[in-house]
């Protein structure tokens, strides 16, 4: 038996103590402000232990990653999309691909229940579900030449389950785009500074695209530096514009922004990739990694106090203004990406498996990146919890609940038990150079206020407004990129589906088909965006739960595929590794769907909501927060659409899970009937370390290879 040395035992005991201390203070402290340091300690300590022990166990005992087996990158190396990539570079790639607006927005909204439920789910969820899903999907996709999740579902579960998975993915993509666009609209509405600087990113991207295409092809670093410099200039110039006579031109109403965004999404998605998408992607990746690094430093240096209570009354009664519903299941739905995100399975079964050098690196790339993503979610939760709770609720409650004046908002928020004076509300808006912060729902503005608070602690208060708009720009930038890229992916799926009906659609470069499918995809997410903006009950309040549910349902599909593959590949004993997260995720998500469809509380259940408002219309009454009959009809239509959609999504996922279960049971009973489409073993010739830092043994192997290479070489 292997015995651990004393140093290892001491080090890991200390790490465990740090994590335990963090958790104890977070859980037990009441009535006084807790420092964010404890949250950081609980998170980092738990991540370290999970990575060292659980991910190692999964990699070597369950998946049995094989260092001698060649990966698709090695076997199919074509120098372009299949090529063995250095593990540190791929970690950066994979992290940049999975991190986006999701982990930043979800935790901010979930803070309405206090910081504790969110912290627990982000950390426990990532360790046992999210990171496991990313890693196991990456493993199975690597063993299948980088097959996508949809292809794996079709091949390993069956055409029926596969089709349901594809349809669910498409629907989820549309909702995602609609909700992300809504976040942007809420952040940019009547904000000339924000609108101007985001608008400027379009000419900047076009310039960068021209530079890369015509002037100096492929010089990405230099053009990115130019782009980032111009971007910061646009950010500073935003203030001048906001204070000049041009301000009115850039002060746009939400409904105007909707039209601009849909038009942008359509035009950007039919333009060639090099004009907007590629350069924008470079910009947003630079900004994303830079800002996340800055934020991590800011949180560690400033170590601010958390002002939000550990658990609010809304958690106990389920009547919160940000999103309706009780702690279970809605906290787990709202914190989508930071703990468990179905979307990551699309990345883990997309680009990354084609680039991974060694199977042994799957642990670091799959599990490690997801831990990093989770720490981003923790930072977002810190940012939301350090601002005054009164301000938090005034920013995140829909206008229908708190009214449109600071007096009214102060009164309502104080009646919820979070005192904030009208003067403080006005001052908070003035601090960041915004006309008003009331009902700036969607998470991005709240995050920006929190980020500006953290950064202002380090750089001084005079830069607060700059940091606020910096944070808005940072989120808007990659949401706009996501709109463009997501429309293209949605279009690609639609072309594929329509190709079955009318052949020319299959040809992805057939121009009429391209324009038509692009328009269709934009119209679909544009519909949700429009609905979200005009929803009297608050767009985020109504739509964010559907977004969260759909993301978690996609995770259920991914976990169902993983569990089926574990069973079919002779790992039945270990099927619980993804089976338990699947059971939990399915319980949470289907409960949430059930409540969204059938709940008798009109704040939660869409159909109950519909009937309450329909009855009022029949009786000729107008129910608040609707202001007139038109509003009443809007509510009825929207809640019908939302309810039907929630039901369809849930049914699709139940179909996938049932089909997966059928395949598993059949395999256990009659293993001979099932086929496993794993690519055959080929011996690897690459020698590379498994983890970030090479072990002594790995260094020796690399040295030995160099010696052999020198002898064998000419």
């Amino acid at each position: 038996m292997r015995t651990a040395n004393v140093r290892t035992i001491v080090v890991w005991t200390l790490v465990a103590l740090v994590a335990a201390a963090g958790w104890s203070v977070l859980a037990l402290a009441r009535g006084e402000n807790v420092s964010a340091a404890w949250m950081v300690a609980a998170a980092l300590g738990s991540y370290a232990i999970a990575y060292r022990f659980y991910s190692k166990f999964i990699a070597y005992k369950v998946l049995k990653v094989d260092a001698t087996r060649a990966t698709p990158a090695e076997r199919l190396d074509n120098g372009i999309d299949y090529h063995p990539t250095d593990r540190r570079v791929l970690l950066g790639h994979h992290f940049a691909a999975i991190a986006g607006a999701g982990p930043l927005v979800g935790p901010v909204l979930a803070a309405q229940m206090g910081y504790l439920p969110g912290t627990i789910w982000i950390i426990v969820g990532v360790i046992f579900a999210g990171a496991v899903q990313d890693m196991v999907v990456l493993f199975f996709s690597t063993r299948r030449d980088g097959r996508s999740l949809g292809q794996m579902a079709r091949e390993e579960i069956g055409p029926f389950g596969g089709a349901a998975a594809l349809l669910a993915t498409f629907a989820i993509m549309i909702i995602l785009l609609g909700v992300l666009a809504l976040v942007i609209v809420n952040a940019l509405a009547s904000s000339p500074w924000g609108t101007f600087s985001i608008g400027m990113t379009i000419p900047i991207a076009l310039l960068m695209g021209f530079y890369l295409r015509v002037l100096r092809p492929g010089r990405v670093s230099e053009v990115s530096l130019i782009g980032v410099a111009l971007l910061l200039l646009a950010l500073v110039a935003g203030r001048w514009v906001a204070e000049s006579s041009w301000a009115d031109t850039f002060t746009l109403a939400p409904s105007t922004l909707v039209i601009w965004l849909v038009a942008y999404g359509f035009i950007a998605s039919i333009l060639p990739v090099w004009t907007l998408l590629a350069p924008r992607d470079y910009l947003s990746t630079f900004m994303k990694i830079g800002t996340i690094a800055l934020l991590a430093i800011g949180v560690i240096v400033a170590l601010p106090d958390l002002k939000m209570p550990a658990v609010t009354d809304f958690a106990k009664h389920g009547n919160g203004p940000v999103f309706a519903g009780s702690l279970f299941p809605f906290v787990f739905i709202t914190i989508a990406c930071g703990a468990l995100s179905g979307f990551h399975s699309l990345i883990s079964s997309g680009t990354t498996p084609k680039m991974i050098q060694k199977e042994t690196q799957i642990r670091m790339i799959g599990y490690g990146s997801m831990l990093m993503e989770s720490s981003v979610a923790i930072m977002a939760l810190v940012a939301a919890s350090i601002i005054d709770p009164g301000l938090y609720f005034a920013m995140n409650a829909p206008a229908g609940a708190i009214g449109t004046t600071v007096q009214n908002a102060s009164q309502v928020v104080t009646s919820w038990g979070y005192h904030i004076s009208p003067a403080d509300l006005a001052q908070a808006a003035k601090n960041v150079d915004e006309a008003s912060l009331l009902s700036r729902t969607g998470g991005a503005p709240t995050l920006a206020v929190g980020v500006s608070e953290i950064f202002a602690k380090v750089t001084g208060g005079s830069l607060r407004a700059f940091w606020y708009h910096f944070a808005i720009m940072f989120e808007a930038l990659f949401i706009l990129t996501a709109l463009d890229a997501g429309t293209r992916v949605g279009r690609f799926m639609l072309q594929d589906m329509l190709g079955n009906v009318y052949r020319p659609f299959r040809n992805v470069s057939w121009k009429p088909g391209l324009a038509l499918t692009s328009a269709l995809v934009c119209a679909l997410w544009g519909y949700f965006l429009w609905v979200g903006v005009h929803e009297p009950l608050g767009g985020i309040n109504q739509l964010f739960p559907i977004f969260g549910i759909s993301n978690q349902l996609l995770a259920a599909v991914a976990l169902a595929v993983c569990t089926t593959l574990l069973v079919k590949s002779g790992r039945l004993k270990w099927a619980w590794i993804t089976g338990i997260p699947l059971a939990w995720d399915a319980t949470v998500t289907l409960t949430a769907s059930w409540q969204k469809v059938f709940s008798s509380d009109p704040k939660v259940g869409f159909f109950k909501q519909r009937s309450v408002f329909q009855d009022a219309i029949d009786a000729g009454k107008v129910l608040p927060p609707a202001k007139n009959m038109d509003d009443m009809h809007t509510v009825v239509t929207n809640s019908t659409v939302d309810g039907v959609l929630s039901a369809i999504l849930a049914v699709l996922v139940v179909v996938v899970i049932a089909d997966a279960l059928r395949v598993c049971v059949r395999h256990v009973r009659r293993p001979a009937l099932s086929t496993l489409s794993e690519t055959p073993y080929v011996e690897s010739k690459i020698v590379a370390p498994a983890g970030l830092i090479p072990t002594r043994k790995e260094k020796e192997e690399a040295r030995a290879r160099d010696v052999v290479g020198a002898q064998a070489g000419d």
């Binding site: 990405v220 990345i347 680009t351 990129t481």
Partner: protein
């Protein structure tokens, strides 16, 4: 002291070039020379065009998450 600094900057440069895929062309040229010695090597402009066209054809390449 200087050598440490030089190594650090060249390390950062390497990392940024790899992460942004600026090094894609050199990698491709090396690949063609090694595995298909008889094939013609495209110039950088043509190569970069080919790369964006591939992304155009399958937008799932390099897709970003929420």
């Amino acid at each position: 002291m200087w050598s440490v600094l030089r190594r650090a900057t060249s390390g950062v440069r390497w990392y940024v070039r790899e992460l942004t895929d600026e090094s894609a062309y050199e990698r491709y040229v090396a690949h063609v020379c090694r595995d298909h010695p008889d094939a013609e090597v495209p110039d950088r402009r043509a190569f970069e065009r080919m790369r964006t066209e591939r992304q155009e054809a399958d937008p799932r390449q390099g897709f970003r998450c929420c």
